[in-house]
Amino acid sequence: MYNIKSRFLRVFLLAGLVAVSLGSTSTALATEEGLLSLHYDVTGKRLFKIEANQLFQRTDEGMAWNAIPLPEDVTEGQLLAVSVPYTDSQTLYIAGTSIGVQRSTDNGETWQELSANLPSREVTALTVHRRQDETLYAVIAENGIYQSEDAGNTWKKMDSGPSQKVNRLVHSDMEGSMQTGWLYAVSDDAVRLSMDCFCGWRPTGELDAGSVYDVAYSLDNPKRVYVATQQGLWRSETGGQEWQPVAGDGTVLVALTLSPKGTLYGLNQKGKLLHSEDEGQSWTYPDA
């Protein structure tokens, strides 16, 4: 009897240890991945990277990442998003938790806080409208999605957002919206989509690929959408209605963006930049 009890206790403790270690591993991964972000500036033909609470830029033909000076209070929070208007490459927007939304109109020389009209500085995602340089969307944690139509000076709550935490937000000018476009919201479990009138979030097609990290779409053909997942890259030709896995080399990316020429750029879990010229089938290090 003692043996049975003892064995049961040992198995129970072992199972507990495994569960705890698995849990901490997945939390660590999620935290590491959350630190990384990538954004392509169409006008300036350059890439922005967020890594370890810093913002870097490089031209798409250049080799080195250069740090952009950030406001001092960024160190108190977690930098999560950078977005650039599509026709004004001097203006940068950054956002993050305990950072709010901040804007620079001189490529990072000076910054202005834009959170006065927001309910908190806990911003988890930010995007600029594809066609309207002064229209922004910011996701406030446990609150909802706010829109500004005056470059961030004033904000208005538009929606409570998906019930899941939104890690990335991307505006698209894909046709078919009642308003001016669509918003892709990336959560850990899925990509969701809403017209930018916020008349309901719809799940995109079945995506049985583990954690979801990032989404990007083709500027020339917005119905072509890529999503970076724990199990590699998936593609849709229908705006996300259906997804197909991209048959490739199995590269896992945690951040993704697309240039107008069709070059896909991604960051791996270590923050290394990769690019693909064949729609995500093969990836190489541009620095190599």
Partner: protein, 158 residues
């Protein structure tokens, strides 16, 4: 006699205050009552069969049905009608609508521009506003500032 004048004066004062208060909150005012009645009649005749007599919409309206179409949404606070500007709501009623992800090509929301006069479309949209909360009416009024009803739908004073 004095009492009667007191009641009339009180009623007028309360009416003025009430209308002002309603306008400030974006609530349709009592001046709109005949138009709201007209809008309600239009709603009952053309819209209620799909959207429900109380604007409750169809069951499971957020999911495609067996035909692959999104069912008619509710018009009350739980729906999203209040998120659209006057211009957009007018357009949807006039020109019809289908969700771009529907599996069929037909307009699930039929076009009514050949059936209803412009003023009737405006009246039915204004009637829908009576189904919303004050906050929703304010939000929709803000959205409509830059996107009002088309001028052709604005009734000319008699």
């Amino acid at each position: 006699m004095r009492k009667r004048w007191f009641f009339i004066a009180s009623w007028l004062t309360l009416s003025v205050v009430g209308v002002g208060h309603a306008m400030a909150e974006g609530r349709p005012s009592s001046n709109d009552t005949p138009q709201l009645d007209d809008g309600k009649k239009v709603y009952r005749q053309y819209c209620a069969s799909c959207h429900g007599t109380q604007g409750e919409g169809m069951p499971n309206w957020q999911q495609q049905n067996s035909r692959g179409e999104l069912p008619a949404p509710p018009h009350g606070p739980e729906g999203h009608t209040w998120k659209h500007s006057n211009a957009m709501l007018y357009r949807i009623v006039a020109e019809g609508w289908r969700d771009p992800w529907n599996k069929t090509d037909r307009l699930t929301m039929p076009a009514y521009q050949e059936v209803l006069a412009p003023s009737e479309i405006r009246d039915v949209v204004n009637y829908l506003k009576t189904l919303w909360t004050q906050e929703q009416r304010r939000h929709q009024a803000d959205e409509s500032e830059q996107a009002p009803f088309p001028e052709s739908s604005v009734a000319t004073p008699e």
